[in-house]
Amino acid sequence: MNGVVMLLTLLAAAVLQHTVPGAPLFAQAKLPLVLGVVLYYALNRTPALMLAAAAAGGLLGDSLEALPVGVSAAVLILLGLAAWSGRDHVFRARLLTHAVFGLLGGAGLALGVGGLLMAGHESLRGQAWPGLLLKAAGTGLGGLVTAPLVFAVLDRFDRWTGNVAGGTSP
């Protein structure tokens, strides 16, 4: 059941992420919904599930967003690892924790994907650093808002399907 829940939420997150237009105020930054799913697995579930979510979510997101396939997966795996390694030092069930991880993860995602794309694509090398930083700020803010929502939805979904025990949050 874990795999089904993960695939369904990743699919929904990736479709919404590529369909919702970017924010012009933040250099077209998009809502990092797939990142929210990866962070949920990093903070609440086993590292194997987190790696699977990051790899599958990255490949799905790159395919739908027409990015070079693998770029987002690589960055999501690194961010998932970072979140997983820090999860014993934070209050994992707190909304604030989800929001802060969303903020930092969103900014890291934009900078990581941007860096990899700029290294490999001539057409993006001319992009100014202020633009990339603006995009990172926008994606970070998007993560700040969306990560708690994604955590809440996934938590309910996992309890409803019996993937985690009901009652208190993990």
Partner: protein, 267 residues
């Protein structure tokens, strides 16, 4: 400790595999996934449009296609008047107004955060192919850069990666138009480079596609000159262009079927 090492090794292997997947694997996978979720994305994209019927671009596709076709035909007729009969016959301009226009709806705007692009709800099965020009009733919007069976991606004219061989109509000057992106206020802009410095270009002059680039048919309106300045080298002029198409309110576009042109080898 052993478990941590195993996780790190697995993560490293996954990253290496993700970054080194060959195009023979990723291209079909990407096209398959896009086709598979296209109905879902299309429904999501159509929902807000249904709520605001009557907004620009939400009209009858047939009527808008006719407007676009007639505007293209009008511009090309004006171009024909300026050129001599022999040149017109040689370039095949007289037949260009008869090109088929394929109407397509945007199923996702800003497909990603890195290129100014959008996804259309038509693909190879509807006759779309790579590099076909995409227009609106107002003017050129961009070209197709990715085509799967049921979807295609258009790279907008305002993206810095998009370059178009262009011509300013009134003083008859040629140059290259490239996108400058969209500002924080949502204002799209392009720049026309390599204009000869002895040509007098004025704000308001029309800029259209030229026959020199090969990708676009000549005579498609790109936009109008906003201001002109000498470039940094002092050898050329650079004109800031206001695109004719309104990129933020696009809902319906038309793909110009240039497949017959490609077969005949004309621009």
């Amino acid at each position: 400790m052993k478990q941590n090492v195993a996780i790190l090794a697995l993560a490293a292997a996954l990253i290496l595999a993700a970054l080194n997947m060959p195009a023979s694997v990723t291209d079909p996978l990407s096209a398959f996934l896009r086709d598979a979720v296209a109905p879902l994305s299309g429904a999501l994209a159509r929902a807000p449009r249904l709520l605001r019927r009557g907004a620009p671009g939400a009209g009858d596709p047939g009527a808008l296609a006719e407007i676009a076709r007639l505007r293209v035909a009008l511009r090309q007729t004006q171009a024909l008047e300026r050129e001599n009969q022999a040149l017109r016959r040689m370039l095949g301009l007289a037949t260009q107004s008869a090109r088929r226009l394929i109407a397509a709806e945007l199923s996702a705007r800003d497909v990603n955060a890195w290129w100014q692009s959008a996804r259309l709800n038509k693909g190879a099965r509807d006759g779309l192919a790579l590099d076909m020009p995409v227009i609106t009733p107002d003017g050129l919007a961009g070209r197709l850069v990715r085509v799967s069976r049921t979807t295609s991606d258009v790279l907008f004219l305002v993206d810095p990666a998009c370059r178009v061989a262009a011509r300013i109509v009134r003083p008859d000057a040629f140059g290259i138009v490239r996108g400058l992106g969209v500002s924080a206020r949502g204002q799209a802009a392009c720049r026309m480079e390599y204009l000869p410095k002895d040509v007098r270009v004025l704000p308001g002059d029309d800029v259209e596609t030229s026959e020199l680039g090969g990708l676009y048919p000549p005579g498609l309106l790109i936009g109008r000159v906003r201001r002109v300045r000498l470039d940094d080298s002092g050898l050329y002029q650079t004109a800031e262009i206001e695109p004719a198409a309104n990129f933020r309110s696009l809902a319906l576009v038309f793909v110009m079927d240039t497949a017959a042109d490609a077969e005949e080898g004309r621009p």
